[in-house]
Amino acid sequence: MSERPEDRVDRIVSALLRGRRLKLRGGDAEEKEAIVLAARLAAASRGPQRMSPAFRQQLVKQLGAATPQESWMTRRAALVAGLGIAAGAVGGGLLGRSLDGGGSQPSAGAGKVLEPTNGRWIDVGALADFAPGQARMVKAGAVGAFVTRTGDGVSAVSSICSDLPCELWWDGSQHALVCPCHNRTFTADGSSNGTYKLPSLGVVQTRVRDGRVEVLGA
């Protein structure tokens, strides 16, 4: 029995929404316009995309070029990790930070700074354990946060989606925090990706003391 057109297209749409490859079967060409449009919508829902660092490095290797390390890092800093911000802010001491930039969409604005009642600083690990540009999930008592190293400092956002009460996860290849409940992503600084902006993630306060990262938890 042949597949109905609506089933055919929904099979493809569902795969696209899960980030899978376009796997098309014989007969799918009958709906080529709808399929092509679906691919564009799926892409638009995630906003402009950048190559993952791993893929970029693979390309560099294949092209037989030595990676221009300094400029590459600067680019990553400007667009993903926010290292540029840290460069001006490093003092080595207390770095409680409200994010006002540093992600791929800094203009979207930072979220509200979380102020836990009876908050206390909780050690979540050595600064050296946090890879630059990679958000890492930590628990500071009842507060879950994704901490991103920015040079000699750190910044953090809430680990809970600003729209649905779901715990985010870090997709290192996309450099994005992903909400599993509705397929939306945020930059490491908490800004919403995509055409339709969600509220930014709450900013979790952090500081670095004697090479240790502390998060204001509860």
Binding site: P5, E6, D7, V9, D10, V13, L16, L17, G19, R20, R21, L22, L24, G26, D28, A29, E31, K32, E33, A34, I35, V36, L37, A38, A39, R40, L41, A42, A43, A44, S45, G47, P48, Q49, R50, M51, S52, F55, R56, Q58, L59, V60, Q62, L63, G64, A65, P68, R75, S173, Q174, C181, H182, N183, R184, G194, T195, Y196
Partner: protein, 183 residues
């Protein structure tokens, strides 16, 4: 440096034939191209909607185009050539996946070149397409794609059935594909 170095028309056929484009003398080919390939990746991703295919196709573009680049011409020519190659590669991709000849695929939605790289243009274009649809069609596509709702959730939101939403989704996509925007 002359304008002859630039592909006269960034048509897919030109890219396939291996035209040589010169690069700025002070730049190493791969160093410059890798940054330009960021744009190509975003362009391709905006057309295929998933990372795995976008990476494969970007790699194909790099492997086809980079060996043909040389020191000496404007960066705009390099970008134009990479985009021409990308369009060619995308044409091959859709042709293979859909089993159609490339001549049947001269579709703006599938391969049209963006005016200024990718930036927000692709998003903006999608937003304008959705604006042209009827309320129900726009709603089903917004919920499904932009909010990531399942069919069941869309059905609940629209007080309909999963089967009806599935049909509406198909019709909405067909209608959206027919929208032609004035550029």
């Amino acid at each position: 440096m002359t304008s002859e170095a630039r592909p006269p028309d960034p048509a897919p056929e030109d890219a396939e034939q291996g035209q040589v484009v010169e690069m700025p003398a002070a730049s190493r080919v791969a160093d410059v191209a890798i940054d330009e390939l960021e744009m190509i990746y975003a362009f391709i991703y905006s057309r295929v909607g998933n990372r795995a295919d976008a990476e494969d196709l970007t790699q194909q573009v790099a492997m086809k185009a980079i060996p043909r680049l040389r020191q000496g011409a404007p960066a705009s020519a390099v970008r134009g050539y990479l985009f021409a190659t990308a369009r060619s590669v995308l044409g091959g991709f859709w042709s293979t996946r859909l089993g159609l000849s490339e001549s049947e695929l001269h579709d703006d939605l599938a391969m049209a070149m963006p005016q200024g790289g990718y930036s927000e243009e692709s998003d903006e274009r999608v937003r304008r397409i959705l604006e042209q649809l009827s309320d129900n069609y726009r709603r089903v596509l917004e919920l499904r794609f932009l909010h990531g709702y399942s069919l069941k959730e869309v059905a609940a939101e629209m007080r309909s059935t999963v089967g009806a939403v599935k049909v509406m989704q198909l019709r909405a996509l067909r209608a959206a594909a027919k929208v032609r925007l004035d550029e």
